[in-house]
Amino acid sequence: MTVMIDVKGLDKEFGGVHAIEGLEFSVEQGQIYSVIGPNGAGKTTLFNLITGFYTPTRGEITLNGESVVGMDPNRLAERGMCRTFQQMQICMNMTALENVMLGRHLKIRSNLFTSMFRLPSLLREEKACRERSKELMAFVGCGEYINTEASAMSYGALKRLEIARALAADPKILLLDEPAAGLNGTETAELEELIRKVAEQGVTVMLVEHDMKLVMGISDRLLVINYGRKLAEGTPEEIRNNPDVIAAYLGG
């Protein structure tokens, strides 16, 4: 197995406060790798560091062997990294389908000239893009919303839509920030199924999630952090039996 993400000595300070401190771990290709920890442990900060929204104070992050520290999110997207957000980032000024089609942005070769005059090459490309996006919407289970304005969709549907958009980019690694938050039992079960299907296609998945049942059931490996530091790392079985983790969650 090749290493997809490798993190070494990662530090992030905000005005002297350590949000992330000395974090080290690596994610292998094709794994479902989850990050858990109490509220405020620095999980989302970690995601923001990996996906280029924050720049680390110190440390090294490599993606497929290439150092990506200080790289903009759009450059990372070009390298196959895509993500969703705890606070969903949906373009409410577009339809659901357009949101997914946006996800294929990097796959499209048309330029200013072809766009301005709507040349046939552009129309062909758009058609292919639309088809693929519709497939993905069906894949994540929101096929019925194709012509709906994003602003008119339910919370659960939007969560899936965001995943469809991320998948539209044909990512090598997908980072999901609390995908199950706000979903009911059935929806969570569907989500679990969806994540499995994505992983089966060879996409590496990183997950920040509070739903322990989901996380324990689905993950290949887990990273537990608290106060920005690594508390434990291992298989679900190892984590479940780790005394530090139990202390942090139950008594800490």
């Binding site: 949101n99 942005h105 766009s115 301005m116």
Partner: protein, 335 residues
Amino acid sequence: MFDRFLEWRMNYVLVLAIIVFVIPLLMENPFYFDLATQILIIAATVVGLNLLVGYAGQISLGHAGFYGMGAYFSAVATSAYNWPPLLALIVAAAVVGLVAWVVGRPILKLKGHYLSMATLAVGFIIAIIINNESQLTGGPDGMVVPPFSLFGWELSTFGLYSLLGLEIPGHVAWYLVAGVLLLVAVIIAQNLIDSPLGRALRSIHGSEIAARTVGVDTARYKSMVFVISAVYASIMGSVFAHFTGFITPAIAGFDYSIVLITMVVLGGMASPMGVILGAVVLKLLPQFLAGFQEYETAIFGFILMATMIFMPKGFYPTAMNAIRNKLGKSSGGKA
């Protein structure tokens, strides 16, 4: 059939074309043509500005600077250096595009009010230069611009032309030229919006964060749309200069920038018909208010304020929603 028309993305362009070309049959007075031509020119300008403000969500309070730059470049090149007007117009657009690109790169990193401030500053600097370089521009008193001509064929509002056996007076000819320009401007803008590029632009407005995660180079796209809207402004500025035959630095000034952005917001952002309507209303309002004498300013301000308070989305989208609701009800809630 009608349903397909309603679904067609360019349906409003057809409606617009019909309106533009039917109007001359209803008007007699050359003064109305004069006003209508100006409306068409300014409407094409705000269609370009709308790409930046309405779709990409980036504010510009200095766009008249580009409009004025185009106008003055054409004016100076054709009068002092005897360039052919079309060449001057194209070179002006290229130069303005370049300037917009150079200043746009750093400016568009700014957000919200800081971006407004920076665009305002750029507009001001352009206006100050035009105002001060009076050897070239005639300074604050303005300068005369030669009429538009192409291969020795001159287009003047006081000329008389024949086309397909029809006698067309100059003011109607100008109107038709401006009408065609507006339609071209709208079609190109709509094509851009409906392209992947347009999608990327709109995503910057919808969620810049989402745009970046899917790989949209937001900085590049922002400066691209900034340049496109500046080029729109420059071309229409050149056209306006030849049309009116006399320009003053006021067309590059802050007040005019505000007028432009008000047209976009008043009519309805991100809606080509909306911004065109905005241009129509804002251009006609002073003519209607002329009778109110000293109350004109107060009434104008009041209308502006009230419209934005009660129709924050602009009156075209508000009106369309109202119509749609009505239609929806009458057809038994089918929609």
